[in-house]
């Protein structure tokens, strides 16, 4: 690295022509697919006109951002988005690690495969379908829970008017859907651990819990940290489909369940405005950027090895 500085980019390029040639397709792809579209961010500051296009449309100052904040909802939905993502991040990753460890400790192949498949299955079910499940479990008149409650002589619970219940319901469904998928990555990391270490520990008399505590967990720590860093990058993007399909247009739950994406969708769906939607995306991206930088800096402080960059 120090050499490059001394000799400059041209010298480096001459020395490693083949390597640069090999990297070129990837670099071009990233430039075209990731960096070029960023110029579209100017839309957030434009009063978009179809006949003038993105760049020739007149400027609009910060007007496009107003709808997020003028009625005081901006802060609420930002808070909800961040809290939901943190909660979902922690639960789904934690459960994924636990399940990965359990699955790798199961030595009967058949049991292992079957349970892994069952855990992975929810990942393939669309949120639209999950939304229907949720409605048929929780609705007041014919829902599964209330049917049981009524049969046992209790008073039915009106879940759709209890905002407090929904963070837990959403978190549970999120974990149910993603745990299996995330655990695959941890299973791969655990499978990568040298068997000899575990065998040696077993011979020395380590119990299964000691082996997990002192061998498995430290070995998958880099994977865990990377996964969390990657997830943090998405923290301002609520999983739109999940929130929209589970909550729908149920206003009474919004204060507890509204995230930036659902708010923007609902506000603009009847009167779409490209500038205003871009403004919302711009806001999310800037906040995401700040959060990633901060989290990465913290990780770097603690252990430079694990930082993303």
């Amino acid at each position: 690295m120090i050499h490059t500085k001394k000799n400059g980019f041209v010298a480096e390029f001459k020395r490693n022509k083949a390597l640069f040639a090999m990297a070129a397709p990837a670099i071009i792809l990233v430039l075209v697919m990731q960096y070029l579209p960023m110029s579209g961010l100017v839309l957030a500051f434009k009063n978009y006109r179809y006949d003038l296009g993105v760049f020739r449309s007149p400027w609009n100052g910060l007007n496009n951002f107003k709808f997020l904040f003028s009625s005081g909802t901006g802060w609420l939905i930002t808070r909800n988005t961040i809290l939901y993502n943190l909660l979902n991040l922690i639960t789904s990753q934690l459960l994924a690690v636990i399940i990965a460890i359990f699955l790798t400790e199961i030595h009967r192949k058949y049991v292992k495969k079957v349970s892994q498949t069952i855990i992975l299955l929810p990942y393939f079910i669309s949120w639209v379908v999950v939304g229907v499940f949720v409605f048929s479990i929780f609705n007041y008149e014919t829902g599964l829970i209330n049917t049981i409650v009524k049969a046992t002589g209790g008073t039915p619970i009106n879940f759709y008017q209890m905002p407090g219940a929904w963070p837990f319901i959403i978190c549970a469904f999120n974990a149910w859907k993603w745990t299996g998928y995330n655990s695959v990555i941890y299973i791969a990391a655990i499978t990568g651990i040298d068997d000899a270490i575990n065998e040696a520990a077993a011979i020395d008399g380590a119990t299964i819990f000691q082996r997990i505590r002192y061998i498995t967990i430290p070995s998958i720590r880099p994977t865990l940290v990377t996964m969390i860093l990657l997830q943090v990058g998405r923290i301002l993007r609520g999983d739109f489909e999940m929130f929209y399909q589970i909550i729908g247009l149920n206003g009474q739950l919004y204060n507890a369940t509204d995230v930036i994406d659902t708010y923007v969708f609902r506000s603009l769906v009847t009167n779409p405005d490209i500038g205003m939607t871009s403004a919302a995306t711009f806001y999310q991206s800037v906040l995401c950027f700040v959060i990633i930088m901060v989290v990465n800096a913290i990780v770097k402080r603690v252990d430079e090895e694990y930082a993303l960059f």
């Binding site: 003038l52 009625s71 609705n139 007041y140 247009l249 009474q252 506000s267 779409p272 405005d273 205003m276």
Partner: protein
């Protein structure tokens, strides 16, 4: 004032052009140069039917003979239209014509420069269509002095009312139509007692239109179909615009809804229910909607004897831009596209081939000229609804006679320039209040709907609704709407 003048001038010049065209008796097929064969591309919103290919082949044979062109229809599915439709115009894609509608934000797109100005093209290349257009239809399609769409020639009406089960109404001994709130309540009570398996009123998320029905029944009308919480009374000489909760009867409405909700006329979880087919599938007994929804239900379930009561005090036409055809700014062949449109809206054979498909394969006709869809999975009807006209459109076999008689009654009742009809040309321009509208839209769902469904306490719910609407900036929208409405009236008078 200036807007009105501009519009007047635009119409005057259009009229001059019209007489000009007629004077020289130029026919569309003559006006347009058809020496070169072209393929026209049209976009419609709906899911592509399986049989579209054979229907295309059939109609293109006809078009090729008549105008030396073929038509390719591209479909934007229901699942993606909200994102994809506006994208058509921003992507710079080249196509020649598209279906548009008020609910696809015609006015908004037009103001943002998505469409070609047809002020001169339409009278020249689609003269027969142009001759049939009414003044109010053209005025609605004219924005900032330019004609941005070809409005539909099939009038539709603002009428809203209960669509209900005739078999049950007879069983309950209800006399006459179910056209008052009291009768609806009696019908509901009867159902609760005798048909507990049915939901009385069909409500699901996104379809909470009780307050709309309440206002229409009193003769009030909403300022904009996208903002159905701001109303005015069209019977007044100079109507005042007001938010729905400022209607003096709104308290009674909320009381009624609270009572109905506690009687269980609808589900306590309606706002999370996504099932939009409850009436159709025999799970609900009444739905508030328009006459076309009713006639569809009659065809599907004749055994339930669906009936319709138009609970709208002052009947008027819906804006003719409810369904319209637009030519995008990127169009290569606007002349041929309009010539084809002229053919489709005046020639029965062209219309049948385009709209119903192939006789004997996708549809058949009975002696009265009513059509039956032969295989709904193969092909139903075209999704370019703007093509329908009074003369060429056919009723589906099985639609009750009442459908035609009542529409003729309405047509007789409606007087140009009186009551709600006086305002059909009014298009609310939301440009100055986009922020407030986005916010109020949200407040209506969050605080308005639960109140309308009787889920929250009346006093507190009303208070919250008002406060939140104020915070969201409803006063500015009302002020803006009032200003535009006054200008519109001044334009009419001047």
């Amino acid at each position: 004032m200036r807007k009105g003048l501009k519009r007047f001038l635009a119409m005057a010049s259009a009229a001059a052009m019209l007489t000009g065209t007629f004077g020289t008796a130029v026919h569309a097929a003559d006006a347009v140069d058809t020496s070169e064969e072209v393929e026209l591309v049209m976009y419609v919103v709906s899911d592509r039917p399986a049989g579209q290919d054979i229907v295309d082949a059939n109609m293109n044979e006809y078009f090729k003979n008549k105008l030396n062109c073929t038509l390719k229809i591209n479909w934007i599915g229901w699942a993606e239209y909200a994102n994809k439709y506006p994208m058509l115009y921003s992507s710079g894609e080249q196509f020649d014509m598209a279906y548009c509608a008020t609910w696809l934000n015609f006015a908004n797109l037009a103001r943002r420069g998505a469409f070609k100005d047809l002020s001169e093209l339409l009278p020249t290349y689609a003269p027969d269509n142009y001759a049939m257009q009414s003044d109010s239809a053209l005025a609605q399609a004219t924005i900032d002095g330019a004609l941005y769409a070809v409005p539909t020639l099939l009038p539709t009406y603002i009428t809203y009312g209960p669509i209900y089960r005739g078999d049950i109404a007879d069983e309950a001994g209800i006399e006459g139509q179910l056209d008052t709130w009291e009768k609806i309540e009696a019908y509901g009570d009867f159902i609760k007692a005798n048909h507990p398996e049915l939901e009385v009123i069909d409500l699901y998320q996104g379809n909470v239109e009780l307050s709309l029905q309440w206002e229409r029944f009193q003769g009030n009308f909403e300022i904009d179909s996208g903002n159905r919480y701001i109303f005015y009374d069209p019977s007044e000489e100079h109507p005042t615009v007001f938010p729905v909760y400022d209607d003096p009867t709104f308290g009674d409405f909320v009381d009624m809804c609270a009572r109905w909700s506690s009687k269980g006329f609808w589900s306590m979880s309606a706002l999370s229910d996504t099932d939009s087919t409850k009436t159709q599938n025999g799970k609900a007994a009444l739905r508030f909607h328009n006459i076309d929804t009713w006639s569809n239900l009659c065809v599907i379930h004749p055994e339930w004897d669906f009936r319709y009561a138009p609970m709208t005090k002052d009947i008027a036409h819906l804006p003719y831009t409810q369904d319209c055809l637009v030519i995008p700014t990127t169009a290569k062949n606007p002349e041929r596209a309009l010539a084809l449109w002229n053919l489709l809206t005046t020639d029965q054979e062209a219309y049948d081939n385009f709209f119903y498909g192939i006789l004997g394969t996708t549809y058949e006709l009975n002696d009265e000229g009513q059509f039956t869809i032969l295989d709904p999975d193969l092909y139903q009807t075209n999704a370019c609804w703007a093509v329908r006209t009074m003369e060429l459109n056919r009723n589906q076999a099985g639609v009750p006679e009442y459908y035609d008689t009542v529409r003729h009654e309405w047509e007789d009742q409606i007087q140009e320039g009186v009551g709600t009809e006086r305002f059909t040309g009014f298009v609310f321009d939301t440009t100055n209040v986009t922020t407030e509208i986005a916010n109020c839209q949200n407040v209506r769902q969050q605080y308005g709907w639960p109140l309308e469904l009787g889920y929250v306490d009346k006093e507190k719910g009303l208070e919250d609704y008002k406060t939140q609407m104020k915070n969201a900036g409803i006063d500015r929208i009302v002020e803006e709407a009032q200003r535009q409405l006054d200008e519109y009236l001044a334009g009419l008078e001047g």
